[in-house]
């Protein structure tokens, strides 16, 4: 049925267009429009550029106003404040350039539309102008590069020693998170040790630091502390994206990456600030990884440091809740009774 509609509709449209085409052509012939170099439509088109300019920029101004709540998610990390500021400064600069060039570009058509008795200005080059608009953008861009460079090198500098470490592993199609546990060391992993139970491939045989590691279902991080994300993937590329913290880093199989930042608003504070009582920080995947790519969601909670410590202490080690699995490993030097 769909195709019948399509065919009938198609024929109708083509017939209509053919009719319009013939009529337009006949009008042209009747008016002998070829005798004049341009017709009235020249003025119409020129005028439409101005209309487009007014409506377009009006629309931008209007929508930027009413939607500002939606496209300005508040930054909740220290470096995010810097990048946000840089973003808006740069946006302001490029918007001015965009606006001014469009004033010229969209008013020129009307101002200089064809007139039979006028001749265009012979102006093939001007060294002054050309140097000016090579140098001015170059200077502006240099300033932007330098300010960008400063922020970028701060963000990518090595993480301070005093930090909280969270390991995040991407897989099709969810995230796995691991904390160091009481010993403060995240145990070594080996991709060959991965199986249905031990999803992160913790290498219990070769690294005892694994025994107190825990793998919660949501990320908790303390406000005001340095947080280092140790990122990896076990099957294909993923990318850790925490929009509110301005954090993004690819997760690459076989090549661990990292990103550190300082969260500066607790979830509770954010709920008050946004007026959304059920607000939560979120982690999403931004590197296409298969059919479930759009649904790799993980919850992040920023606590006050004291709350965080309490939560951290209350977590049960993975090895404790999976004693049966540890038993199957037949590790000689491990006493299951010691795990608690």
């Amino acid at each position: 049925m769909l195709f019948v509609y399509l065919i009938v509709g198609g024929i109708f449209i083509v017939a209509l267009l053919a009719l319009v085409y013939r009529i337009l052509s006949l009008i042209d012939v009747a008016k002998n429009s070829e005798s004049k170099r341009v017709g009235f439509s020249n003025t119409v088109n020129a005028f439409l550029f101005i209309v487009f300019f007014v409506v377009g920029f009006g629309g931008i101004a209007w929508y930027s106003g009413i939607a500002s709540e939606n496209y300005l998610p508040v930054s909740a990390s220290d470096h995010g404040l810097l990048t946000d500021r840089l973003f808006w400064i740069t946006t302001a600069i490029v918007f001015v350039a965009f606006f001014l060039t469009h004033v010229l570009l969209f008013f020129a058509p009307f101002l200089f539309r064809f007139q039979e008795d006028r001749k265009a200005l012979w102006f093939p080059h001007s060294n002054k102008l050309e140097v000016a608009w090579t140098v001015v953008p170059a200077i502006v861009l240099t300033v932007l590069v330098l300010s960008g460079y400063k922020v970028w090198s701060d963000i990518t500098s090595p993480a301070p020693k005093d930090r909280v470490e969270v390991e995040i592993m991407g897989k099709q199609f969810n995230w796995q998170v691991r904390y160091a546990g009481k010993d403060g060391v995240i145990g070594k992993y080996d991709f060959r040790k991965i199986d249905a139970t031990n999803a992160m491939g913790m290498d219990f045989a070769n690294d005892k630091a694994n025994f107190d590691d825990f793998t919660p279902n949501e990320i908790h991080i303390p406000k005001g502390k340095n947080v280092l994300l140790k990122i990896r993937a076990r099957d294909v590329l993923h990318s850790v994206f925490m929009p509110h913290f301005r954090v993004k880093m690819d997760a690459v199989p076989g090549m661990p990456t990292s990103f550190w930042f300082v969260p500066n608003k607790t979830t509770a504070e954010m709920r008050t600030e946004t007026g959304k009582p059920d607000f939560n920080y979120e982690l999403a995947c931004t590197e296409v990884c298969g059919s479930g790519h759009f649904a790799m969601k993980f919850k992040i909670i920023v606590d006050e440091p004291a709350e965080y410590e309490k939560w951290y202490a209350s977590q049960e080690a993975w090895a404790v809740s999976n004693k049966d699995y540890i038993k199957t490993l037949n590790l000689k030097d491990v006493n299951l009774a010691d795990l608690k």
């Binding site: 090198s153 099709q172 929009p243 690459v252 076989g254």
Partner: protein, 618 residues
Amino acid sequence: MATVDIQAHHHVDNHGDHHEEHHEHHDTFVTKYIFSIDHKMIAKQFLVTGLLWAFVGGTMSGLFRLQLGFPNASLEWLRPLLGGWLTDQGKLDQEFYLALVTMHGTIMVFFVLTAGLSGTFSNFLIPLQVGARDMASGFMNMLSYWFFFASGVLMFTSIFIETGPASGGWVIYPPLSALPQAMSGSGLGMTMWLMSMALFIVSSLLGGINYITTIINLRTNGMSFTKMPLTIWAFFITAIIGVLSFPVLLAAALLLIFDRSFGTSFYLSEIYIGGEALSNVGGSPILFQHLFWFLGHPEVYIVLLPALGITSEIIATNSRKPIFGYRAMIGSMLGIMVLSFIVWAHHMFVTGMNPFLGSVFMFLTLIIAVPSAVKAFNYITTLWRGNLVFTPAMLFSIGLVSLFISGGVTGIILGNSALDIQLHDTYYVVAHFHLVMGSASFFGMMAGIYHWFPKMYGRMMNDKLGYVHFWITFVGVYAVFFPMHYIGIAGFPRRYYSWTNFDFSNSFVDLNMFISIAAFVTLFGQLIFAFNFFYSMFKGRLAPANPWRSNTLEWTTDRFPGHGNWVGEIPTVYRWPYDYSKPNSAEDFIPQTVPFSETPESNFDYENEMIALEKEYK
């Protein structure tokens, strides 16, 4: 139909009415329309194939815009078209959504904007504008088209296979694209994608080598490099970029093929998938990205430069004013060419690459904005105090400049590695490249079609329909892509089947609906063009010899130029192509074939000195 053949002031004899006498040999249907070695026919083959691909790619974007704008709507009515790709609930299958996105990207970037734009106009204009009988090798040129055609057939077939076409995004990052376990599209569909792309690379290289050689070796008398139209400069530089960058894509694809089918570990390391740990160790998935973007970034300019070249020519012609800063335009294109090879890693700021390397690439990336800015300013200055004639081609050219600016300025933001952290792989990027590369190049292609249609088919397209087409498209692409900036700043990731899972992206429902509706209107608006194009081919008014009163060489040929382009001798060139509205000249244009000795009233001093040299040209 009324015909307007010879304009009184036209000084090149018009052979339009007698064109049939000049056919020296009569081609069969096969040698004339299919296995043709005439560059003009090959150009038309590229054009029509490219337009058909644009239709396919456009339809795909319509389908995924349905999903994005109306996530709850039932698409049951599309079942005759999509069949098994719809779920039982009448929604798009999630993997099929990715397949659509991937195919849309591949088709538009390679088949439409590389082959359809550069292939068409390089083929058509290079011999006509430099004054050559044909390309340096007509046979290689024919091969170039048929490799492209074969590549297209393969890609098209892959859409209909059981496991679906490649679906890992047009950038086909491994390991996703290397492991059939990861998604069904990485099976046979990916193999076909790679084979198709290998054929496409061969086609591009055959074409590119031919373009460069023709421009170097076959220019007519007097056509020095400094008298070449900017179109030819643009095609020349595009071809050089292609020859230097496509082999790298070939290398990347080759290694991927080995990883997929022969068990090597170039890109694979420490992978556990489908319940088993793979044996591959020591490879680097990031290596692929380096190789891919070493082509991928120059590819952006392969797509864009021809459009800019076409625009230069059209804006100068219809402003009745010389292009401002001819040498600066060439210089900036050369600058872009060099820089385009050393900015690729700005696509990879968040892959965990060395931060210092990131800063270097940020610096280089922002440098490339300077020649681009120079070009934009030069276009505006060319319009300023001109005498503007708004042909559809001119409208599309002005539209291109606007899109080039609006899409270009956001490149300054994305090229800044600190800002790219948040914006990478969001809709901000989608907005950026669809404006600056997709739409701008598409506008260049449309401008070129409207402008050179009379030379291609000897008939005029209807300009009123052209105006309607332009305004729908211009308003349309802005309505589609401008709002995506807002969505991107909010952090919506690309290639998401739906956003409703996340609180941070669960806004903008209305805006997405608006974008989708705008996209449908824009897509349907293209039907006006399609009609105008095909109808005018047969029923359009016969074209005058030089409908736009242009200076370049192609307008000195017959209305229906035969194979060999010029009857008799190829004209000699005496001046640059931008003598529009020269002071003291009676006409507002002086074609390149007019010697200075014939225009004593308008010559500048140094041009008078050239008169003595002109005799030697003969």
